[in-house]
């Protein structure tokens, strides 16, 4: 980005109307990808000068143990619901989970899920890092995921959505080719970077389960209805040019017993509809890239 400029220069402006037609494999109109956040939050992390990890003195029992629910109970509940309806995950991974709970990472890998980096921990933020420190995090991410899963990561979702002005240029320099951190579009778009090439794939804050439940305070059934409405609209608009729908999840939220049933019915609806190309982030970026 253009550091210090009012317009960070992240991408070219391109209005929705009149774009070249994107066609997804099999003539599907909307590429649907599910992004489970497989995370590790530290119980006693060091303080970042610009953001606190926990709102309470450590240990923040509810904050920490709520997230721990993912790695003991709800990951499998969420993953099974996805597998039953043919949805692979594209995982936003706190890469230290490979050390703490390799069982969770192995389960995701066995299901054929793709991994991208969500930082080392979701309690270590990028704010204030110098370039060498940020490079260390990227290199650690690449090496850790490769060692644990054999996969070369292609994508990035900044830890706790914390960035520096260098992040996008750096990940592109290391050969990563998509970012999930930009929310300006419902289609894949090119990002301006100094070297390499980077695509922005639509992730979503609006239909992220965290926003659904803790910002918009939706009931589980209202959230499931929201996903279906989001899908219906993007599937219809995708007839003109293929759209992308992401369902970003956290097992400790969506995998709670009162939420998983309605959520599974939403997956069932999308899978049965016929207009969805149910895919992974890297495959969506590849299909888009092939049409540029």
């Amino acid at each position: 980005m253009q550091d210090g400029m009012a317009d960070p220069g992240l991408y070219a402006f391109s209005p929705y109307r009149g774009r070249p037609k994107i066609v997804w494999p099999g003539g599907k109109t909307v590429a649907v990808w599910v992004a489970p956040n497989l995370e590790y939050y530290e119980i006693d992390p060091p303080a970042n000068p610009q953001r606190k990890s926990w709102t309470r003195p450590h240990p923040d029992v509810v904050g920490y143990s709520h997230r721990d629910h993912s790695n003991r109970v709800s990951h499998w509940r969420m993953a099974d619901a996805m597998s039953r309806h043919g949805f692979p995950g594209s995982v936003s991974l706190s890469v230290a989970l490979c050390q703490h709970h390799p069982e969770v990472v192995e389960d995701a890998a066995k299901r054929g899920w793709e991994f991208f980096s969500h930082g080392i921990y979701n309690t270590r933020y990028s704010y204030g890092m110098d370039e060498a420190q940020e490079r260390a995090v990227i290199e650690d991410s690449m090496a850790t995921v490769l060692a644990a899963t054999g996969q070369r990561i292609r994508g990035w979702l900044a830890p706790a959505l914390t960035h520096t002005p260098r992040t996008l240029d750096l990940i592109a320099e290391y050969g990563l080719d998509y970012t999930c951190d930009l929310y300006h579009d419902d289609q894949v778009q090119a990002v301006n970077v100094k070297t390499g090439r980077l695509a922005s794939i639509p992730y979503s804050l609006e239909v992220n389960d965290h926003f659904g439940f803790f910002v918009y305070h939706m009931s589980p059934r209202a959230y499931a209805d929201t996903l279906i409405r989001q899908f219906e609209r993007l599937a219809r608009e995708g007839e003109a040019s293929g759209t992308v729908m992401c369902i970003p999840l956290h097992a400790y939220l969506i995998g709670q017993p009162h939420r998983i049933g309605p959520f599974e019915r939403a997956l069932e609806h999308i899978a049965a509809d016929g207009r969805a190309w149910i895919s992974r982030a890297g495959d969506i970026v590849d299909a888009w890239r092939a049409q540029q």
Binding site: V62, M129, Q133, F213, H258
Partner: protein, 304 residues
């Protein structure tokens, strides 16, 4: 600008947790648990019964539900008292009607001030869980260990004196603990706490204390007070949770549904009908085992 080098070192990046309080275990890998009489879902109702002094304390933090306006905050002081005088009795009637025995997590000051309330709870066969002294009795790191130890001793001692039985369980205010709490509870002879929400069945800390997870997401405080859903929506959500857990229990062993309710939230005239209907529905399900927390812990312990 750069961050301190320590911000990029990870001394506890290792197999298992970044602490030594308890060990990792995935629910799906554990031996299935069975509940008495072949029931599939233990329904654990836990009522928080609380006394809020009109002079709120902020050390270490002000409890949720505490006073809000400048002194004297009549509206919150009396609304909380409404829960104890009126709401609790609506709940007790609902439990009797459904045939449910429950846990009541009780501030020890309630026992001192209103022994008749304690007597009514105990006479109905419900379990008393210790829930600090009053709603100024919050705990977090920074509270001197001697003060925390004394607070735990007072709560347990008072409840034992008034109810005739020393509570086996402990629920912290806002489920908030200090680094010392797990050891102090063990030292005080507590058998289980209910503060850690990371699981759906009981588990043991490394020091021997048991945690019985009281899901905060399924509480009336979260769904009704925070998320502002109706009691009817709350009942639908709990019903959905029950259905899901009953489905899992059919193939994976006993499950538990914690229902955490608050007299001044759920015990209101316009909400209680929905709650009664929920309990009646659950009572009619063949899978349901209504049980207080201590009985669930005992049934689980016997199978470990």
């Amino acid at each position: 600008m750069s961050l301190e080098p320590g911000y990029l070192t990870y001394p506890k990046r290792r197999l298992g947790y970044d602490h030594d309080l308890y060990r990792w275990s995935a629910l799906r890998d554990r031996q299935p648990v069975s509940w008495p009489a072949g029931k599939k879902v233990a329904v654990w109702i836990c009522v928080s019964l609380e006394w809020f002094p009109i002079l709120p304390g902020d050390t270490p933090f002000r409890a949720p539900g505490h006073m809000v306006t400048p002194y004297p905050d009549y509206r919150h002081y009396t609304s909380r008292e409404y829960g104890t005088r009126i709401g609790l009795y609506r709940l007790l009637d609902a439990f009797a009607q459904a045939g449910a025995t429950v846990s009541v997590a009780t501030n020890s000051t309630i026992a001192e001030r209103y022994p008749a309330v304690l007597a009514d709870i105990v006479a109905a066969g419900h379990e008393i869980i210790a829930h600090s002294t009053d709603m100024n009795g919050t705990v977090a790191s920074g509270l001197p260990i001697d003060e925390e130890r004394a607070l735990i001793a007072t709560a347990l001692g008072t409840l034992e004196r008034v109810s005739g039985k020393r509570p086996a369980g402990w629920l912290s205010i806002a489920r908030s603990q200090s680094w010392n709490t797990v050891d102090l509870l063990r030292e005080a002879g507590v058998s289980f706490c209910c503060d850690w929400v990371n699981d759906e069945l009981p588990w043991r800390f490394n020091n021997g204390l048991i945690n019985l997870p009281l899901n905060h997401e399924l509480s009336d405080r979260e769904i009704i007070a925070t998320q502002q859903h109706s009691a009817e929506s709350y009942a639908e959500q709990i019903g959905d949770a029950f259905d899901w857990l009953a489905g899992e229990a059919a193939t994976r062993g006993g499950r538990m549904l914690p229902i955490h309710v608050t007299p001044y939230i759920m015990g209101l005239p316009y909400r209680i009908d929905a709650f009664e209907t929920l309990l009646t529905t659950l009572a009619g399900r063949a899978e349901t085992w209504f049980a207080p927390g201590g009985e669930i812990v005992d049934a689980w312990s016997a199978q470990q």
